[in-house]
Amino acid sequence: MSTSQPELATKIVSWGGTAVVGRELHSEDLTAITRDVPLARGLGRSYGDASLPPPDELRVAGTRLADRVLAFDTATGVVRAEAGLALQTLNRLFLGRGFYSPVTPGTQYISLGGMVAADVHGKNHHASGSTGAHLRSLRLRVGDGRIVGCSLDRESELFRATIGGMGLTGHVLEVELQLEAIPSPWILSESLRIDDIDHFVAELKASASDWPYTMGWIDCVSRGRRMGRGILNRGRWARPEEAPARLPTPLQRPDFPVQMPGWVLSRPFVRVLNEGLYRVHVPKRKRGIRHPETFFYPLDAIGHWNRLYGRRGFTQYQCVLPDEAGPGAARRLLELLTRKGRASPLCVIKDCGPQGVGTLSFPLRGISVAIDFAIRADTQSIIDDLNEHVIGEGGRVYLAKDLFTRAEHLRRMDQRLETWLAVRDKWDPQHRLRSAQSVRLLGDRSS
C-alpha cells in the first residue's frame, strides 16, 4: 500500500475495449452519487461509448452497489428494485419461485438500469417485445436534479423517452418490472442446421408462432450458395412434465485469461472454426432440455470473452431490417458484409416483432443482424457503408452496440429522433446529462 493521495482519475473501459480517462463513483446510495454526474453506468456491457462519460467530465455514477430488491409480489410477479441489480441476481432469485425476466439479452451481467436505458431485447422479441413492454414504472433523477417517478400513466413522455434513451433523459434509480411466470425452471430447446441465408430467414419466421425464443448463429465467412448457413436455436420454457424435478444449479464460469493475438481472427482461422461449428452439429436437428443459463447466455460461460479480440478492441454492428424491405434484405446485407471481407466468428440473426413503447426503442418488425468486428483502421469506412445500406433498406442500428455511426446517419435512419430530442430538451434544456455517445451522435457539447 502506498502513501500517495487517492487516485482520482483512472480508466473507464467499455465492453468493446474503448477506454477513456474517468472515474466511476460507487455507493449503495444512488441518490447521493447521481447528483452531479452526466451519466450513470451499470455493469459496463454496452459495446460502444454509450456508458462512457463525455470528454470534459471525469465522473460517472456506478450503480452496481445499489442492488436492493425493494418489493416483490409473489402472486403477480411484479418486482421493484434499485437500478444496479444484476439480471443474473434477479433471475437466480426468482427462478425457483416460478418467475424469470420477461426479456433477456445474451448476457446476464447487465444491470436493470442498463436494460431500461438500452431497452434491451432478446431472443423472444417477436413474441414478447423488448424490456419497455414489461416495465411498470421508473424512478429517475432528471437533469435538473429532481427525482421523478414515471410510468405510462404518469409523465408518460419522460417514461417513453427513457426506455431506450441511453441514460440521457434521467439517471435510472429504481425499476418496477413485471416478471414472466414460467411453467418450469428448464428450457426445452431445438437446434437446426440451416443451409443458407434465405432458408434461415424463412425458418426463423416459421418458428415464431411455436417458439417464443429463436436466434441463429451465422457462418459469415462462407459465400455463394452456402452464404448465411448456420445453426438456428429455438426454445421455450419446458412444461412441468418435460422438465427434471430439480432446480438448475447456478453455473460457474472460467475467465478468459489473456488478450489474444490478432491472427486468431484472421480469415483462414475463422473459416476453420466456423466450418467446425457448422459440421459438428449432427444430426441436423437436435432437441433437449437445457439449463436456462446455457441456453440464454452461451457467451457468459467464459468471463472476459471480449479479450478474444485483443488490445485494439472490437465493435458490434447490429441493425434491424424491416419486413417492408422484402425477403431478400438479409441476403443483401450479408452480401455486403462478405464483400467487405471482415472475418468474424460471431454473427447473430434474430426475428423482431413490432416497435416497442420506448421513443427510441431499437427493434422493429423485421430481421436483426449483429456481427462483431475487431477494430482496425478501416472499421469506420466499413460501418459508414453498412449504415448507408441500412438506411436505404429502412432499417436502423442499435445504440447499445454502436461506436462508429455518424450523427448524420443517425438522423437519416431514425425519424423518431426529433420527438425524442424535444422531450429531452423539456426535461434537461442544458443537456447536463451527456455521454461520449451523445457527444458523437447528438452533437452535445464536449467542453
Binding site: T3, P6, H26, L65, R68, A71, L93
Partner: protein, 246 residues
C-alpha cells in the same frame, strides 16, 4: 441463528446479511438511518423468500445511549438472539486524518471506544442466554504499526486486542468471539482509492466470514492470503518497517 446486525446496509455487511438471510437465519438490523435500514430489511426478506420479517431499530456508533435500547428491541423482536455481528465503522486515509484532528478523534472513538461499549452490551445479553457468537470486523491494519494506517490501524489494533481478550475470558462460558481482519475489499468505503494487491469483492469475504461464525474461529483473515502476508509483516524487524512503505 438469530442475528442482530450492525452494518448490514453496506459493503461486506450487506453481502454477509444476504448469505444469512438466504440460508434461513433470522435477522434484526440496527443502524443510523431508518429509511435505508427499511430498504435493506425488505431486500433481505425478499431474498430469503420466507415469511420471516426482518425488523429494524435505531443504533448509531456515535451515540452510545442508543446501544442498549437497540439490542433490547432486537431481543424482543427475535425472542432472544444468539449472534451479534458488527461490520459498521468509519475509514479515513492517513493523510486526511493527519490534517483533521476532529475527524481523527471521531474515528478513534467510533472504531474503538464505542464499538467496545456496544460489544460489552451485546456480550452481556449473549451471556444471559448461555452464550452465542460475537462477530466483529477489525482489520489487517491493526496487526502492525504501519505508515499508511497509523491512526486507523491503532483503533483496529485496540479492537483486535479487546476481542482476543474476550475470547480468552469468556469462551469457556459459551461466548465465541470472531475477529474478522479483511484486507482491501472493493466497497463504497474504499471507492476511489488505488487498489493494492489481493483486492477482493465483498461476496467471497462474506462467505469466509460466515464459515468462521459457524465454526467459531477466533480470528479470520479475508481473503486468506492476508494470514500469510501478516505473518511476514509481524515478523519484520522495526528497521525494515521504517524503510518500507507498506
Amino acid at each position: 441463528m438469530k442475528v442482530v446486525f450492525l452494518g448490514a446496509t453496506q459493503g461486506i455487511g450487506r453481502a454477509l446479511a444476504r448469505l444469512m438471510a438466504v440460508r434461513g437465519d433470522q435477522l434484526f438490523l440496527v443502524g443510523r438511518n431508518s429509511e435505508t435500514l427499511g430498504r435493506s430489511a425488505r431486500d433481505l426478506e425478499i431474498r430469503a423468500g420466507s415469511d420471516l420479517a426482518v425488523g429494524t431499530a435505531y443504533c448509531d456508533l456515535e451515540d452510545p445511549a442508543s446501544f442498549a435500547p437497540a439490542l433490547d428491541a432486537a431481543a424482543t423482536a427475535l425472542g432472544g438472539f444468539d449472534c451479534v455481528v458488527v461490520t459498521a465503522g468509519v475509514f479515513g486515509s492517513q493523510e486526511d486524518l493527519e490534517r483533521d484532528a476532529e475527524r481523527t478523534r471521531r474515528l478513534l472513538v467510533v472504531n474503538f471506544a464505542h464499538t467496545v461499549v456496544f460489544c460489552e452490551e451485546a456480550r452481556r445479553r449473549l451471556a444471559e442466554r448461555a452464550g452465542g457468537t460475537l462477530c466483529v470486523f477489525s482489520s489487517v491494519a491493526g496487526d502492525r504499526g504501519r505508515k499508511p494506517v497509523v491512526l486507523y490501524g491503532s483503533a483496529k489494533a485496540g479492537l483486535s486486542r479487546y476481542l482476543e481478550g474476550l475470547d480468552h475470558r469468556f469462551r469457556a462460558a459459551g461466548l465465541r468471539t470472531v475477529c474478522v481482519k479483511p484486507g482491501f475489499v472493493r466497497t463504497a468505503m474504499t471507492d476511489g482509492r488505488p487498489e493494492p494487491p489481493f483486492a477482493t469483492d465483498p461476496e467471497p469475504v462474506a462467505k469466509r466470514v460466515l464459515r468462521a461464525i459457524d465454526r467459531g474461529s477466533p480470528v479470520v483473515y479475508a481473503p486468506p492470503v492476508w494470514a500469510c502476508v501478516m505473518i511476514v509483516i509481524r515478523s519484520l524487524p522495526r528497521f525494515v518497517m521504517r524503510r518500507i512503505g507498506f
